[in-house]
Symmetry: C2
Subunit: 182 residues, 2 copies
Amino acid sequence: MMDDDQRRRKELISALVADVPDFPREGVVFKDITPLLGSPAGFQAAITELVTSAPRDIDMVVGMEARGFIFAAPVALALGAGFVPVRKPGKLPGETISESFELEYGFETLTMHRNALRQGARVLVVDDVLATGGTIGATAALLRQMGAELVHVSVLMELTFLGGRERLAEAGIDSLTSVLTV
Amino acid sequence: MMDDDQRRRKELISALVADVPDFPREGVVFKDITPLLGSPAGFQAAITELVTSAPRDIDMVVGMEARGFIFAAPVALALGAGFVPVRKPGKLPGETISESFELEYGFETLTMHRNALRQGARVLVVDDVLATGGTIGATAALLRQMGAELVHVSVLMELTFLGGRERLAEAGIDSLTSVLTV
């Protein structure tokens, strides 16, 4: 059930995400979150909504470089959880594990410190956008490598026409909420 | 004056930053903040210290890709300010301004949306590490291009032996606090 406060927050967030046609290339409509971030009320509303959708007793919040950090770090603080960054190769100084996934043009690799999560840790993954699910899928595979439990995925925006939710469900990830669906 | 709570926070933060020798290359001691981020109490202490050092009436907090986002975004929320990301080229969809600075090996370019800050906006810059001052200096130059006022710079760690503070002072940036000095 959505109460009036929640409806107002979602309307505010929605109004502050801008469509930018043909970025980063022709035919793609980019969702620009910088107007949302630049609005104190809008940014706070986004974090409140992400926190509201999170299950209780989360040990660690995992966020992905770079835009994911902007939402995942505040959610970790609000939940009293730790924060674990997932990064591009070559950025983390300790021993890492990695997962690659296919993009439209080539491959992307994500890495995480091998000791970042204890076995059985209850993890919430937070990201800005769920598109095809490649990033979140690879992150889930990193968590599996470590024996951590992916309890829930919370995203600001879900681009439903790209079928990310279905692809993640096929990979066994079916606990997912999005603040906005597009 | 440092009270007991503040002393305890600084000790906790200090204990959770790990030295990693020879990363990203031989002879460099890398400061690894991932143990700090992974500790709920440690991460919260870091944000509390950064917020405590911030002047009042900040309109916007500016943070730099990617690690800077982890600290700058929560500080923006805590201050009730907006958040503006400074990014590598090709990441921001709108019209941008840019500044380049020299690294040990080549150049780095930072960009910001041209309309991200209004003329006269009171800005706090937050970053994880002050090393040579290249990133913060380029960010300050972006703010000048926009006519925004750089009120203060807050960093988690200052590597004093690299002389970043002196270099920034020569560029007219003399309001700077660091939680830890190394």
